[in-house]
Structures are given as C-alpha cells and as structure tokens.
C-alpha cells in the first residue's frame, strides 16, 4: 500500500485539528464561558477522519451528540463551529443549535444529534435520495456502541438492507454509553455481528489506526457506490475524556485514560507509522501541529469576543414560511 504525501498530510491535519479543538475546548469549558454541556471526541479522531477521507462534500453523514470530530472531518468550518459552541450569532447555526446540533448541508453534514438513534434513519433517507438521484453518492450514519441498542437503529439497518440503500453504519465502539459499559449493555458484545444478522457485511476494525478504518471504509463505500447495498463497520476505540465535560468517570478504572492515552493514541500511531515507513518526516508533522495550534487559537479568540445573537433571532427560522 502506498499513500500520496498530500493525502497523508491532509489526514494528519484533520486528526490534529480535531484533537486540538477538543483539548482546547476541555480547557475553555472550565472558564464557564461555554454554555450547555459538551461531549468531546478526543481519542476517536482516526474514526471520523478514516471514514470521511472516503467521502466528498456530496456524500452525507449523520452525526451524534459527540459530533465535533465528524463535523471537522467532513469539512465544517472550524471557526464557525467554535462560534456555534460559544452560542454566537455567526456560529454555523446562528447560535441556535450549540455543540449537539452543528450542521452544514453544503458539506454533506446532516447534523449532530442529541437523540441517541436519531441519526441512522435520517442517513438511510439520505442514502435513498442518492439512489433516487442516481448520483453514486453515499450516506454514513455515525453512532456509538450505546446507539446500537436503540430500536430506531435496528429499523434503519433493516430498511437499508431491504432497499439496498447506499448507507454505511459506523458504530464507534468506545466501550461506554455514558456511565455504562458496552460489555453490559450490548447483549451480544458484538455489534458487527448484529449488523450481519440484518443481512449486510460488517467488519470490526481498529479505531485507533487511521489506516484500518480507512481500509474498512473503502470496502464499504465501494460496495455502496456500486449499488450493492449497505455495510457496517465497527471501529474499536476509546474516549480520552468523560462522557460529557464534568463527568467524574467513576465507572472507569482510575488509570484507564492515562493508559489509553499512552498506548491507544491514534495520532501517535499515525506518526509512528508514517515516519517509520518514511512516508512523512517528524518535521512535516510538527509543522502541521504548529499550524493547527494557530488555527484553533484564532477560532477560540474569535469566538470569545464575538457577538451573541440578537433577541429578535428567537422567533426566526421556525418555519420556511408561516
């Protein structure tokens, strides 16, 4: 397998952007300036980027409550996202949505979603649209291990199989749904197996390894674009923070996050792989790190000083016309 230099640089930049965005938010949230509650994606970057590097702006994704990584990987504007998370007028959704509702149709981003299991049926609908429009595009439903227990998700999977819709279900198995382990809540312990039960191919991949996700996603998109129907991938991954910011994580072994940060860091893995293969140098990657740090800093500075929505905005955007 040989990868283009530009491709690798782009993939790393995307992952680094997500990581910095989230690590910075983790700090900024402690200032109390950011409203609401926020679910960070740190640790899972290889999944969002491994998946979205197989997609174009014309392909669709439906995201989750833990959506920042998906948004960035799909090309949403980072400053626009930061503004949204701060609840500012110039945010991607005018400050009306917030962290759990970032969306950008122009990037094929159908929205983060605060209802677990809300996204997959929507993704199947977008896949049906692709099929009807015969445009060769696909739709991806992101979900967690916890979402794999929601009836709406089962319905979406079956419907996609029945219709041979170009849909791809991505179950990011990070081991937990809120304070409950997947070992307990996923009765079969095996989400990919469930997907096979619905009649579609499904594979487990290493969510800590960009290349593993990218390869699995390649098989799934190829099948979908050829009109052969849906697939599932189950990347095994980990989250580096609590379920939401402020979660004391009593359900996790005390050293688990530190251990995972030391051994399952997808950015470290990527660096190791590409430098040992001599595809990229440490200097290449360091330059990206620098660049991204500046970009995130600008996003935060912009968002902190930006204007809130005017009260008149409260009653706009409820309908197209009324």
């Amino acid at each position: 397998m040989v990868f283009e230099r530009d491709f690798l640089i782009r993939a790393y930049r995307q992952m680094r952007t997500i990581r910095d965005f989230e690590e910075r938010l983790h700090l900024e949230i402690q200032t109390g300036e950011i409203p609401g509650f926020t679910h960070l994606y740190s640790g899972q970057e290889a999944v969002a980027v491994g998946v979205c590097e197989r997609l174009t702006d014309q392909d669709w994704i439906a995201s989750t409550h833990r959506g920042h990584g998906h948004c960035i990987a799909k090309g949403c504007d980072v400053t626009g996202m930061m503004l949204e998370i701060y609840g500012r007028a110039d945010g991607l959704c005018k400050g009306k949505g917030g962290s759990m509702h970032i969306a950008d149709m122009s990037k094929g981003m159908l929205g983060a979603n605060a209802i677990v299991g809300g996204g997959p049926p929507i993704a199947v609908g977008a896949a049906i649209a692709c099929k009807v429009q015969k445009n060769g595009h696909v739709a991806v439903a992101f979900g967690g291990d916890g979402s794999a227990n929601q009836g709406t998700v089962f319905e979406a999977m079956n419907l996609a199989v029945v219709l041979k819709a170009p849909a791809i279900f991505v179950f990011e198995n990070n081991g937990y749904s809120e304070h409950t382990g997947a070992d307990y809540a996923v009765g079969s312990k095996d989400i990919a197996g469930r997907a096979r039960g619905f009649g579609m191919p499904a594979e487990v991949c290493d969510g800590g390894d960009f290349f593993s996700v990218y390869e699995a996603m390649g098989r799934a998109t190829l099948r979908a674009r050829r009109g052969e129907g849906p697939s599932t991938i189950e990347p095994r991954t980990t989250r580096f923070f609590g379920h939401f910011e402020g979660d004391p994580m009593l359900y996790r072994a005390k050293d688990e996050v530190a251990r995972h940060r030391a051994t399952l860091d997808c950015l470290q893995n990527f660096r190791q792989r590409v430098t040992s293969e001599a595809w990229l140098s440490d200097a290449d990657l360091d330059a990206i790190d620098q660049d991204v740090a500046t970009q995130i800093d600008t996003a935060v500075t912009t968002a902190r000083s930006a204007a809130p929505p005017s009260p008149a905005e409260l009653e706009t955007d409820v309908y197209v016309s009324y």
């Binding site: 009306k96 917030g98 509702h101 929601q150 072994a253 929505p309 409260l314």
Partner: protein, 337 residues
C-alpha cells in the same frame, strides 16, 4: 427543620416506597451506572442527575435495573411489568426522549384500562427531567407536559419544590394509573423543608402558595418560583396575588382557580411550554367556559414563543418567562379591563 434538595427529596421517596413495597422496581439508563465498567464500581451515576443514587446498593440489581439506551423497551417493559403485578418507576433521562417511546406511553399505558373494559390497571410512574434554562439545546430542554396532559388515561405531575416532589412521588407510585412525573432540572438543587418519613400529597389538589387580592396567578413547575420573585417585587407597590400551583395537570384542580377568580377577577397563567395547545391555553379555556362571569380583564397567558428552545444564553433567557416578564405582565393586567 430539615431542608432537602428536590433531587434528594425524590430520592428519599423512592427509598421509602421501595422499602415499603417489594413490588416497586426502578429501571432506566444509568439509574445506577457502572455496569460493565472497568472500575468495578456500581452506582457510578445514580441517574445522570443523581436522583436514583443509593437505590442499587440498597435494593439490588433485580429491582434497580440499568437498561441499554432503548426508551421504547424501557417504557414498554414497565408497562408489561405493571400488568403482571409490579409497580415500576421508569426513568426517561430527558422528557424530550418521550419522542422515542411515545407509542408505549399514549397507545399502550394510557389505554389498557379503558380498552380492556376496566379489567386491568397499569400502575407505572415515568420520571423524567424537564425544562429549559441550562442551555441544553432544542432536544434536551422541552416542556412536554401539555402533550401528555391531553391524553386520557395518563396522570401528569409537575412539582415546583422539594416538599411537594416527595409527597407527590409517594402518591404517584401508590396510584394505580400511569403517571408521568416531570422533574425540572433547574429545581433539582433547590432546597425546601422536607419532613422525614411518609407523607403523601393527593393528586388534583392545587397548592395556594400565596394569598392576595389583585390578581390570580397560576404557575406551573419552575414558574412558581419565578412568580414568587415577581410578587416580592410587586409587594413593594402593594400589589398582591393568589399564587396557585396546580401540582398535577391531570387531574387538574380547576375549582381552586375559579374560587380565587371570584375574589380577584384577573388571571395570569405562566407555563414553560410553547403557547399553542398548552396547559395555559387549556386553563384559559376552562376559565372562559366556567368562570367567565368572574373575569374583569382578558386572561394573560405568559409562555415562551412558538419556537423550539434555543441554545445561546441570550436567546434561551429571552425564551423563558422570567420574573421580570411576569412582573411587567402583572402590572399590565392590573391596568386592563
């Protein structure tokens, strides 16, 4: 006198009733927490707001059930368990998730007794966190009590303080009908005097929080504390009101409202749900039908606008009917008619 937060008051009611009645079970997502985790610690959450903390260590895994994220199965299983002899208390983490399981709520639980000719009962309680004010966005902030109040067969409780919450919860669990119990997130930490031990508050009996002469204010849930703030400010100008907290929306103690109106002639209803087909609109309609003669001015319905709940602080603040809006509306109402 001992003060408890609303969170702890409900927690105490659950403990008391599980102790008293072995048929009571609790089920929902993370009601204990820690199952399948790597710390080995159970009760790692006790509900995301801590309301069910301590139940699992006390009553065990059979009666305190952590479920997967499966709202239809949570409420459906509560229904089935109730038909088969238990008294389940199901938790929907946020009231917005009624959207996921509405069939089990309004086609199933609400209708068993009637459809089956009175041959069965479905004594479930659905506890759920409600309301705006914490910038949780459009899918975690709604006040959906009006939607269920309109469904025959369901009882609907919206406590405004810790004392009532405990007494109403004990009544809810002992009630033989399905009860939806809306707990306002912003009220969880608020404390009031809560007696130890067993006491119940009957359904369909409003609480007259304050007595006054110039107007009648009916306020629901969190709006009661806002109305009190507004009345504190109005008192400086000698303006006083009957402040009525219905406590249960179904059944509704409308008589108390009519009686108050005989004295004041002016009515303001403060409801956190959007205006159309709201509880405010319902009460205004009842008053128009049954106490029109007592009215000296048009009824004021103070509600959020007909919009989803916005995220940004400034917008959410503008959305919620706050103490200042209540005060201004009251002054306006006194000039009217």
């Amino acid at each position: 006198m001992r003060q408890l937060s609303m969170r702890d008051a409900i927690n105490e009611a659950l403990h008391l009733e599980m102790e008293r009645d072995a048929r009571v079970i609790v089920l929902g997502e993370d009601v204990s927490g820690g199952a399948g985790g790597t710390s080995g610690q159970r009760d790692a959450a006790g509900g995301v707001f801590g309301v069910t903390k301590g139940l699992l260590p006390r009553f065990g895994e059979e009666r305190v059930i952590d479920t997967p994220i499966s709202e239809s199965a949570i409420v459906g299983a509560a229904n089935g368990a109730a038909l088969a002899g238990l008294r389940p208390v199901a938790e929907l983490m946020f009231a917005d998730f009624l959207g996921v399981c509405f069939d089990q709520v309004f086609n199933q639980a609400a209708k068993f007794r009637y459809m089956f000719g009175g041959k069965t009962a479905c004594p479930i309680v659905i506890r759920t966190a409600t309301g705006a004010g914490m910038n949780m966005g459009a899918q975690h902030s709604q006040s959906m009590y009006a939607m269920v109040t309109g469904v025959p067969g369901l009882k609907v409780v919206v406590p405004s303080n810790a004392y009532d919450a405990k007494g109403l919860m004990l009544t809810a669990i002992r009630d033989d009908d399905p009860v939806i119990f809306f707990e306002h997130k912003a009220l969880y930490p608020r404390k009031s005097v809560v007696p130890e031990g067993d006491y119940t508050i009957p359904f369909g009996e409003a609480n007259i929080v304050r007595q006054g002469e110039h107007l009648t204010i009916v306020a629901i849930g969190r709006m009661v504390s806002f109305a009190e703030k507004a009345l504190d400010a109005l008192a400086k100008d000698g303006i006083t009101a009957d402040l009525i907290d219905p406590r249960t929306l179904s059944p509704l103690d409308d008589e108390t409202i009519y009686e108050s109106l005989e004295g004041t002639g002016r009515l303001m209803i403060i409801d956190e749900s959007p205006p159309r087909c709201s509880v405010a609109a319902d009460i205004a309609g009842l008053v128009a039908s049954n106490a029109f003669h007592a009215l000296r001015a048009p009824v004021v319905q103070l509600t959020p606008p007909h919009t989803p709940v916005p995220f940004a602080r400034e917008l959410e603040r503008a959305y919620i009917p706050g103490p200042q809006a209540i005060e201004a509306a009251a002054r306006q109402l006194l000039k009217a008619g």
